[in-house]
Symmetry: C3
């Protein structure tokens, strides 16, 4: 790498190309302020939760814990290779906007390279699994389709343990075939080195107002299998989404049964939304670790522009163990701002 | 997040917007070379200091330890929302340019979201406290207003322990009201979860050539309170800044009394500057931990362009403990370059 | 740092400058998929290697372990200061594209500031050593001049322990003087604080089709000295590169003798390449730690565009200890994509 800056400058002039034309810099900052109170019983491994149980705590939330969505910045671009072929890449950092701390790994959101054409898309690297795509579809009208939703926060047990993204992944996304689509992920095993790879697949149908999809994910390292059926329908004056999700786990992890339902009603610059989620876990080894959880959420957004919206939301989540004791009984309120760039 | 790059590309075309128009990429690289010698007495907790005491060490400095200012890169932008309302964001990484190491957290410099209008500005996230703004004003003509200054390096005891930035902060900055301004910070307690929040406020007056401000900061987790009065006056042929700063701390932390004075004389592309700082710490529990410190600094900058300047500086700092023993007796020389982009 | 965003916006308008004109955002994503098998003997300190010995492992590679080159993103720019003087900077992050993890330090690739003119270039900060530049020249036609090459992966012993970049470095690069050039690095000692600095230098001659250079590096902290002679010749229908490299180390580190040879044959959008590397280590303390290594590599690239190429490669590396036992006996195959932006 001989790279004096003089040589660099010369090379840039010679190629007549500015990098800026090849790359888009984008991002989102999402922050909210609100209060949370957990009337749950029993000590947890989280010291902050233990100290604050039964007390109303007023605080700042970043996406993932009370905001609409996780803050991020990223780089992406596509290059036309001719003959209908395109190359593309995406690198996306996720960070906690309330403290400025980067999440780990740095390009946690996405780190991928794609070749695209009439055949569809082949993508290499780290990105969301196609199973996660279907989960997201099933919650897409539940409040605001991400962190604020009832389902994503403590209700769905498998939500806390499945891999929403795979490292070392090769994916194939089919083109749209008269509304139908399919995609598959294969992630190489690079930990134990022999037989702990992961894979996921999805099939779906999508038109202007309707989408339905089936997703499956198999994580061999944990011996857990996940299956989800999800749909979304836009009725014009309102839209709905829902999903049924199953985990078939080991004796230790248990089996999950999960349901989610969401509705969004747009009214001018406003959008009102509500969501419900339910989850039940059963272990073949007996009931002590079994449990049930359910959650409600209500929220509204007001769009100040295409890129900026303010929002307010409420969430109520309840988790019961096998004896019926509420180990979590949380109410969260928040108002916030989300800005895209 | 269904995000095949094809869909992404389509979305970008559909919205007709390039992210580049929404975001400004900026930064600064500041590096210098010089020598430092500490004739202080007694072992410290810093192994490098112990090894090099009494010896002249020639080395490279990055901002924060001998350069003008800390190196950084960042993203920022504002969006006009109509009706006099604007949204804005700023994300700023700080790094040590001599090694390429990022400081921690990643967006240590700033991670914020703002709504602005005739009412002023409301800012959420992590950013400098308004008390820190006033400190900065008081040192603004002291050599080069940051790391190289006498006051910021070992003289001001509270300079080493107060929080220059708050996480989880909500701030309000008033508009300029005939020269007068005010601002307040409130940072939620998210560590112990109950009653260790922090706040800061400032009041000031500013016109073309003059600024005076009063700042206060209360960090409940440390039980320390800070108050600073600072002013700056530009006489045309030269300008001066100064500050009086107090810390009212716990018996263990002690109380501080601090003074700073600085002057800068511009001459064409040159600027010559000098600074003095004095600090005294008293503990209610007795004198053993008490101490005094003072420092002088001289420097000059030469502007090669608006964005690039070279500089040379000298700094002399002396710290005495209660028995009059010099625990630090340091002289630093450095020449460097600072480039903004 | 008084920086309400309103003031910021005003300042930007006042200066009439957009940061975008001052900075180029660039990068590369490189990912490949392939298989690797190590028939070496004996347990190593690497658990993954121990588990997979004798087994074919199919996996994803990022640059540095089987791709063409390490993935990166960076910022760089130059500013014309008038009178033939320029300022320039470069900040380059390296990351593992298969997982999205940043390498450490953050700007591992480069973190530098330069002043350039008729006198040449003075560069401050972290960047590749001029000795590393000569090594790179010597491997420049060996398959694809970086991670995939035979020499860089386990054959060259000193390749695993010399510093390819120095922190706290001041460098001087001469201008081109009728084809001749020279450069020198000096890196300040900032660990022990007294006498463990590092330096490197190179001399070379370059014309359109030919380059030869001599490089030397002295790392006082390790007491290791490295010397390399390298050349490249472009015959038009093919090009070759080669190098001879020596390490003169301590009794514990040993002395190395290394050779590398590479050839690349372009054919339209294709380029075919092969490389060979050999390394021998001798310790003055006796033979137990001595060893020999050699490697072959073959590869081809196909350019889909100036910025995007696909590639396939094969690499065979063998390492023997003093007793002739193969401690490493690895074959690697990979196909991949590299995209520049």
């Amino acid at each position: 790498m001989k790279k004096t800056l003089l040589a660099l400058a010369a090379a840039l002039v010679a190629s007549g190309a500015f990098a800026q034309s090849n790359v888009t810099l984008y991002g989102r900052v999402d922050l909210s302020v609100g209060s949370v109170k957990d009337d749950g019983t029993g000590a947890t491994s989280n010291d902050l939760v233990n100290k604050t149980r039964g007390k109303t705590v007023t605080r700042m939330f970043h996406g993932g814990d009370g905001g609409l969505t996780t803050s991020r910045w990223g780089l992406r671009g596509t290059e036309d290779l001719g003959g209908g072929l395109k190359a593309g890449f995406q690198l996306e950092n996720r960070f906690n906007a309330d403290t400025g701390a980067s999440q780990d790994p740095y390009f946690r959101g996405e780190s991928s390279l794609s070749l695209m054409g009439g055949f569809g898309e082949v993508k290499l690297g780290r990105s969301t699994t196609v199973y996660d795509d279907v989960r997201t579809l099933g919650q897409s009208r539940d409040v605001f389709n991400s962190a604020f939703t009832a389902s994503a926060n403590g209700v769905f047990k498998s939500g806390g343990d499945y891999a929403s993204r795979f490292d070392n992944k090769i994916s194939y996304y089919s083109p749209n075939m008269g509304g139908f689509y399919a995609a598959i992920d294969y992630a190489f095993d690079e930990k134990a080195g022999v037989s702990e790879d992961k894979h996921a697949l999805k099939f779906g149908y999508k038109d202007k107002a309707f989408e339905v999809a089936l997703g499956h994910q198999n994580e061999k390292d944990k011996k857990d299998k996940y299956t989800v059926l999800a749909a979304m329908y836009d009725f014009g004056s309102f839209s709905m989404s829902g999903s049924i999700n199953r985990r078939s786990g080991t004796a230790a992890n248990g089996d999950d049964e999960e349901y989610a339902l969401g509705v969004t009603v747009p009214m001018g610059a406003f959008a009102f939304s509500g969501g419900y989620a339910y989850s039940k876990t059963k272990h073949s080894t007996g009931g002590a670790k079994d449990g049930k959880a359910n959650g409600f959420a209500l929220g509204m957004t007001y769009s100040l522009s295409k890129r900026t919206r303010v929002y307010a939301g409420w969430r109520d989540v309840e988790v019961k163990n096998a004896s019926g004791v509420k180990t979590k009984d949380e109410r969260l309120y928040a108002v916030g701002v989300r800005h895209d760039f």
